[in-house]
């Protein structure tokens, strides 16, 4: 699990704090969602958990340990991250790509053994991409590629899974499939931290939503407590109404068209 306590991060030269006193926890067996407008500090929190930014005050903890005291490899054993962007200059077989998730487990000579092969096999099955194992990464659709990336993160066998905008550019069916997969992974005991702009999906799948605004926690709690039209309107600066998902009753946000000027 992860925990952020009174976290303050200021980038060099910036006048305001990128993250300004944020606290929340991402317990095991749950999906914790980080949402908020662009530039609200979501990705900076992920970077703090990876030990990649200078923390001014507060803590970013992974499995109870301060990320600043952990080596990059120790963090990778506890927390797997699927970043927003990834480069695929040199396409490779899906099986080999997923095997790179075992990198933090490899010994001095960095050669995989039978237990690594087994972990790769299980991760491919878990993410539902075992049938793609012998395809090359450049021959995958957007949805397949995202599932393969999740399989690579699962191969790390970490107890926390962090995903930064995993469904950008995906169509509805692939987007839903990814969220269902994440939901089943959380039910299996993983702590899932999900950074996403898809409020309606977060409202249906997340256990807790932490809504950030200008580096601070604007709203936090169960989806029903966070999906309040007035607060969302002021945070996003756009008129919205909240309705209900007819299937599961979760709150759903509808951004409104502004009245046409005549």
């Amino acid at each position: 699990m992860i925990a952020v306590e009174d976290l303050v991060v200021t980038y060099p030269g910036a006048r305001t704090n990128a993250v300004d006193g944020v606290s929340f926890a991402g317990p095991s067996g749950q999906i914790t969602a980080l949402a908020g407008p662009n530039g609200s500090g979501k990705s900076t929190i992920v970077r703090a958990l990876l030990g990649r930014v200078d923390i001014r005050t507060g803590f970013a903890k992974v499995d109870g340990d301060d990320a600043r005291t952990l080596t990059p490899n120790a963090i990778a054993l506890k927390m797997a991250v699927v970043p927003q962007r990834e480069e695929t200059t040199f396409p490779m077989r899906v099986r080999d790509y997923v095997a790179l998730g075992r990198y933090p487990h490899l010994g001095l000579w960095r050669s995989p053994d039978a237990s690594d092969d087994e972990a790769v096999h299980q991760s491919l099955e878990q993410a539902g991409v075992a049938d793609l194992a012998d395809r090359t990464t450049d021959a995958l659709s957007g949805g397949e590629w995202q599932r393969v990336r999740i399989a690579r993160a699962l191969a790390q066998r970490a107890r926390t899974l962090v995903l930064d905008e995993p469904t950008t550019f995906l169509d509805v069916a692939h987007e839903m499939a990814i969220f269902e997969l994440l939901s089943s992974l959380a039910r299996g005991g993983l702590s899932v931290l999900l950074v996403s702009h898809q409020l309606n999906l977060l409202a249906r799948f997340a256990d807790t939503i932490v809504l950030l605004d200008h580096g601070k926690v604007a709203l936090s709690g169960r989806p029903n407590d966070v999906m309040k039209a007035e607060r969302l309107e002021s945070i996003y600066g756009w008129p919205v109404v909240i309705t209900r998902d007819p299937a599961v009753g979760a709150p759903a946000l509808v951004p409104l068209r502004r009245p046409l000027r005549t």
Binding site: A76, V81, P83, F90, L100
Partner: protein, 329 residues
Amino acid sequence: MRVFRPSYWLLLTIVLLAVAMIAIANGPVSVPVFSVFDALRGQGDPTAIAIVRDLRLPRVILGALVGAGLGASGAMLQGTLRNPLAEPYLLGVSGGAAVGAVVAFALGATGEAAITLAAFGGSVAAVFVTLAVGRTGGRATRGDLRTLLIAGVIVGAFANAVIMVALASAEPNRIRGALWWMMGSATDATWSRVAWLAASVLFVGGAVVYWAREIDVLALGEDTAVSLGVDAERAGRRAFILAAILAAATVAAAGLVGFVGLVVPHIARAMGLRAHRPLILAAGLIGGTLVVAADLAARTLASPIELPLGAITALLGVPFFLVQLRRAS
């Protein structure tokens, strides 16, 4: 994607040995292949023994080592920089080595050791200047390997200016030696030069192979590399320095032999290799074969005139690369 079979290792080794044997047997004076084996053991015609053991064998081994070093260096850099067009000479290595060698020639240095050391010193200095230039953007550019690439191009351009000044002000009889060196040549292969390069290639190449697995992760981008436990900035810098030193050693030994570091990793990938440990090893074997073959062409195509090795590798490399580019698009 083609699957790389274990038998390909045997194939690559046999091709390298076969090309090496043809290169030892052929030249202004041809030695029959069966006589080559005798000469290698010190038996038979004394002239053949002298040609094979003192002239051709060191030259062929030097060519193989130059190709191996450039191929491995190119494979490592392309992965680290996530750029299939990256090659060792883009990073200021060639410019720095050329400055060192040309200045040494211009100052009247003629000894083998002086030129080799000047070239190696020049290229290592250029690498560190490139690293320093790459860091001038502060924290924002420190970990950005693309900035290093641009810094290398800038250092290379500056080195060209220094070379032009040195050549313009040098005595005419000293310019030919400098120009010949800049065109690449294995002509002056001596056993001491071979031993020096072999030690460099084996030692630095061993380190390159050891850290190759890190390049697999770096090739996915900085964010992913960090999430997999790799200190991307440090790993990138280490890969850059190792690849540059490897290339610098080859340049110091045989001058500028272009296109090998660019083309050879593409051949290895076309054989189905992606993971950088086998990719770098295969690039070493393929690069060695290519340079030995190119050197054979350089000394036999227009015999008795010897063509510049760098020109032959470029003549072979450019069309190959254009074909690759067309297939990729």
